[in-house]
């Protein structure tokens, strides 16, 4: 019967069978896991999300969190913390990466060597080791809060982080200065050592990779562009800024997207140095409730959604602005 169909219909039929097979296998594993959990009377289901968390979170972005709030709110706080560090790291790593890529191609010998050393060093040392390094540097080399450094009025640098004054957004406008009392600074905003170490580690690590990609992009721009620009009398700086970089940066959008996604996923190493990101809080939740499968499913779902969203966005951008060499 199958032989009577034409080749396209046969291909479609095989794909339907394969899809059905994969779905069946997936369904079997999920049903099996649920049955086993029920049989051993291990709690399952997502009802735990609405229970009281019972633990505190070291720092949170935008929301305020207390131990009486739900696990769902705790995970939301974790997600916002992840966004905060990942977004800042992505932005800074792009800026630093472009600078590093340019530096490596510069005619200045010292600059080139420095940039090469930076790239080789940071690409080859595991990220978690770099994070431990930055964390140790910050906690061990800065003084205790009682003897904090005071570089500018209102700014205090200690091993508890950088305390900065904030301007209140309500009238009357008042500046909230951090003041040391008891154990810590109150008032103002404190950038914790965990956040700083994670941000520095991520930004510098990703910048090393982006630097190499940008360098490849610059080298990929047609030789003719250089010659045309020079014949017009443009200086090297103008050449780079007006002609080469605009083209190079549009070439490198797909590989840089990959690096952005890596950066976001690498932020999950926060648990090693104590920054309360999504994975760290989800791990605590898993251990307190014992529901490992649901917890891991939440983590996977969130990271998958973020990554797919960024990929989709960057691909749209790429389609609109990319330069095409040969095929579309």
């Amino acid at each position: 019967m199958v032989r009577q169909l034409d080749i396209r219909q046969r291909a479609a039929l095989y794909q339907i069978f394969l899809l059905a097979g994969v779905c069946l296998a997936g369904w079997y594993f999920i049903a099996n896991a649920v049955d086993n959990l029920l049989a051993r009377r291990i709690a399952s289901g997502f009802g735990f999300l609405w229970r009281e968390a019972g633990f505190e979170i070291g720092e949170s972005t935008l929301l305020s969190f207390g131990a009486a709030d739900s696990y769902f709110k705790a995970l939301t706080v974790g997600l916002l913390n992840t966004f905060r560090v990942a977004l800042l790291a992505v932005v800074f790593s792009t800026v630093i990466g472009v600078a590093v890529g340019l530096a490596r191609l510069s005619p200045n010998w010292l600059l080139t060597k420095l940039a090469s050393t930076y790239v080789e060093l940071l690409r080859n040392i595991p990220l978690v080791v770099q994070l431990f390094f930055w964390y140790a540097v910050i906690t061990e080399s800065f003084p205790a809060p009682a003897q904090a450094l005071n570089p500018l009025p209102g700014f205090y640098l200690s091993n508890r982080g950088l305390a900065v004054p904030t301007i209140s957004t309500l009238l009357p406008l008042a500046i909230d200065y951090p003041a040391f009392s008891g154990f810590n600074f109150s008032g103002g905003v404190v950038l914790s050592p965990e956040f700083t170490a994670l941000f520095l580690g991520l930004a510098l690590y990703t910048a090393a990779f982006i630097g190499e990609i940008v360098r490849a992009g610059i080298l990929a721009v047609d030789r003719g562009q250089y010659e045309a620009a020079q014949s017009q009398g443009l200086s090297p700086a103008q050449l780079m800024r007006l002609i080469i970089l605009p083209q190079a940066l549009r070439l490198v959008v797909p590989p840089v997207t990959s690096q952005y996604l890596n950066c976001i996923k690498n932020s999950s190493l926060a648990v090693a140095i104590g920054y309360p990101d999504l994975v760290s809080i989800a791990n605590t939740t898993i251990n307190q409730t014992g529901q490992a499968i649901e917890g891991i499913a939440v983590i996977m779902l969130v990271y998958l959604t973020i990554s797919l969203a960024i990929s989709a966005l960057m691909n749209r951008y790429n389609r609109r602005f990319a330069l095409r060499g040969g095929k579309t």
């Binding site: 633990f55 091993n159 760290s280 251990n287 490992a292």
Partner: protein, 338 residues
């Protein structure tokens, strides 16, 4: 039709499993077949489970696993140790990766009721405390408002800490780091003002990491009950009985005055209680489907509870405290072996 397919696959797997001889519980059987017990222990906590400089595991939790092996096999060597972090420990036991979890695990309602696990008893009574540097001039935990506190994630420690501060209307900033070595690094570097964990852990950390023990004080407040005990899976009552009575045998031996040193003389004793315990009279071992000399093997090769405590925890500076026998002012009590 899907249901039928699923149940037929399940039946096939069940038949495969049943082809192995099942005369007692599944865990004991599989351990006998493997030839060893897989024991889940701490990754490295002085006094409880820590590899020494020769790579041998030492600690009271390790001693307990050796005791179960002695009861089951007659020799303590038939043990493999799986170091587990606080995050992995329950999943490892639930999934069958380890046979016993002997990992200074606090016995709580939620863990007993919702994880599909059973706690066999208590092998160490502890409580949670705080350690601060002397420079802070803090005399009581009630003065810790606003402090930065180092803690490991996913433990009862985190929950008790939040509860205590809420109950006393104080605020704190947790610094939550997963690995024990990194938490201690952060505390001793001054990243946080206070380190909190069970008092036994505080003493062990101070003994092993502090440059000068006098610089760190352990505050007098003990804010929670932390009864540690070995854990096994639901659904295997025979294994539960073996593990539970191993614990009781060690405690009972101390009460009867039987030690690993005098056990050979005690074996000649005419005291009927001791005769029953050591298997000279009666068939108590057979009731557990073990050799009648199961308790003799445990005490001869591992020692009684007091010996295990003195070997592992007394050198760290831990007093027996609540862990003395019931008739010496403590909480250690074993039901009679008869």
């Amino acid at each position: 039709m899907i249901q039928a397919t699923k149940s037929s696959i399940n039946t096939l797997l069940l038949i495969l499993l049943l082809t192995t001889q099942a005369n007692a519980g599944p865990t004991a059987d599989s351990a006998l077949k493997k030839g060893f017990i897989q024991c889940g222990v701490n990754t490295g906590l002085a006094g409880f489970a820590q590899p020494d400089s020769a790579g041998q595991w030492r600690g009271i939790d390790v001693d307990f696993c050796r005791a179960v092996a002695a009861a089951l096999f007659g020799e303590t060597k038939k043990n493999r140790y799986t170091p587990l972090t606080a995050q992995q420990r329950f999943t490892a036991l639930q999934s069958g990766e380890v046979d016993i979890l002997s990992r200074n695990t606090t016995w709580t309602f939620a863990r007993d009721a919702s994880l599909g696990l059973n706690f066999v008893g208590v092998n160490f009574y502890d409580g949670q405390g705080f350690m601060v540097t002397k420079k802070r001039h803090v005399k009581s935990a009630k003065q810790l408002d606003g402090a930065a506190i180092c803690v490991q994630p996913g433990t009862t420690t985190e929950l008790n800490l939040a509860d205590y501060f809420r109950a006393n209307n104080m605020k704190f900033k947790p610094v939550v780091i997963e690995k024990l070595e990194e938490v201690l690094n952060a505390y001793f570097a001054g990243r946080c003002d206070v380190y909190t964990t069970d008092v036994s852990g505080l003493i062990a950390a101070r003994a092993s990491r502090a440059a000068n023990s006098g610089d760190h004080i352990i505050l007098p407040e003990v804010i929670s009950k932390e009864p540690f005990g070995p854990v096994v899976r639901h659904g295997d009552d025979h294994w539960f009985d073996i593990v539970r009575w191993t614990l009781f045998a060690m405690i009972e031996a101390e009460e009867l005055g039987i030690t690993s040193k005098n056990i050979d003389q005690q074996a000649q004793s005419s005291n009927p209680v001791i005769q029953r315990f050591l298997g000279t009279k009666g068939d108590f071992g057979k009731m557990l489907k073990l050799d009648n000399r199961w308790a003799f093997n445990i005490i001869k090769q591992v020692g009684n509870y007091g010996e295990s405590f003195e070997r592992n925890l007394t050198p760290l500076g831990l007093d027996r405290g609540m862990n003395r026998l019931w008739n010496k002012g403590g909480l250690m009590y074993a039901p009679p072996l008869r």
